[in-house]
Amino acid sequence: MKNIWHILIVDDEEVMCESMAAWLREDGYRVDTAPNGRKAVELAQAADYAIYFIDLKMPGGMDGIDTMMEIRRIRPEASIIIITAYATVDTAIQAMKEGAQEYIVKPCNPQEISLLVSRILKLKKLQRENAILRKKISRQYHHHDLITKNARMEDILSLARDISSLRSTVLIRGASGTGKELVARAIHYSGDRAARPFVTVSCAALTETLLESELFGYEKGAFTGAGAQTRGKFELANGGTIFLDEIGDISPKLQADLLRVLQERCFYRVGGSEEVRVDARVIAATNKDLAQLVAEGKFRDDLYYRLNVIEIRIPPLRERREDIPLLVEHFVEKLAHELGKEVSGISEGAMKLLLDYDWPGNVRELENAIERAIVTCRNGKLQESDFSSLEGSIGRNQPWQVPDLPLAELERQAIVAALERKSGNVKEAAAALGIDRSTLYDKLKRYEIPR
């Protein structure tokens, strides 16, 4: 997606303003023009431009340098390019000393301007991203990232505050996308461990041996590729909190190891003989029913009771629909900013659609739906049509996209798919395709489909 940057051109000659504006518009920028410094300052007060092109020589009270100084006073971050003729290059250098970012001598090579503009905008983009990331970092430590007015969620938040400074193990349960990690962070960052590390491990993402070395670290030479002693996540979380996501997925061996850490607060690195002591608070999370797994013998009951000292259950989004408008407002503001799009809100119809939807993927699905909608949004307000991918899953069928392939290949794929669906049964596959068995045999031969 192309970011629409705003550029202001300030020149007393109309033909100069208009021709340059037209040229920059062809590049996709939004361009305004001003015939004098006063008008330019007025425009700069109303809107922030990414780049200001200012002609050095302008009649009337304000020349290019005066205009530049005035704009820099209002917009200290402004990127200003001074336009000058050969005769006034010395003054342009003066302008650079006063804070212009660049100057161009007209007429200038198209490539030069093009590179200059893209270089400045690249920098602007990095600055903007940097600002967003800073904001993100400072915000993720705050409670208010959990947006809710649902009574059950408010109870959870107050419980999170109450238990934040205890050392007790916490088990957070909830479907995926409900915000288990956010609750874990909220507990960590509102307690007395806030200044210490918060370390996350997703137990489902790794194989048993990888997860083992990830959690406990390893000694040099413990296995092929173990080139140096490496600390595990438990050691990294020392003094702080370790968040074990998807705890229901860990193997019996790791369940035993984990139990020992919880009971004795110490463990061995992989391949190590020296005991390592840690003080890390464990917060575990799962979207599975651990009690059920215990009943089925797939999860150790002693570990379950150790983990389940304090249990928090996060309701799915469909059970707290009153939060949807608040969440929508939050995500629209956050994501529009991140994506650099001007989207100010959501239409009533679209909001109703979001309120009626079941959200199997919970808050994360809502966030993704809004991100997708902002990307496709054309008129500054999210409409029902921007959520068409959701409508599909609500019930309306999405049109099937015919792949761009030769007809014979489409037929071959249809036959293979039918055979796969019918586990290779030719009679059933032929019936499903609406052709008789001999025809299907012919086609299998023609397309050399092995069976």
């Binding site: 021709s19 062809e26 590049d27 996709g28 007209k106 007429p107 090579n109």
Partner: protein, 184 residues
Amino acid sequence: MSALYVVAVGAVPPKPLEWIEAAAAEWFPLPVARLPALRMPERAYDPARGQYHSVEILKAVARAAPANTTRILGVTEVDLAIPVLTFLFGQAQLDGPVAVVSLCRLRQEFYGLPADEALLRERAAKEALHELGHTFGLTHCSDTRCSMSLSTDIALVDAKGGRYCPRCGAHLVRRFAALDGEQS
């Protein structure tokens, strides 16, 4: 019946005009027609630079547009420029009806090389599609194979393709659908 017009501004040999018309007819679902050549507007010439203001030429082309014009493309042999730039291959009103393309810097002779008709044909078609693309609201494309990618020198004109990329093509198809609506 609306049409896409091609018009020479000043003397232009017939062949390049035909090439440009053929390229336009291949991509745009509009009748392509030729208007009688226009005289070069006197005020377009900048004696200090020995070049022609493209804005003045655009104005002249716009004045010559018949009432049923959907888009009109001026074609000229003179070297185009605007005050801030040393030269232009062409210029268009973004989302507007008028565009102009110059053959001057598309000719090998401009660079002191022997004439190359096939190369000129390719370049003229690319730049005509590029400027007409602007008149249908396309801005520069980051796909360097697309005709809508920005060429700031002749090497870049040669490097890009003579087609619109799928994304720009899809934009045009949407715009054409809207044109049908306007006409009915």
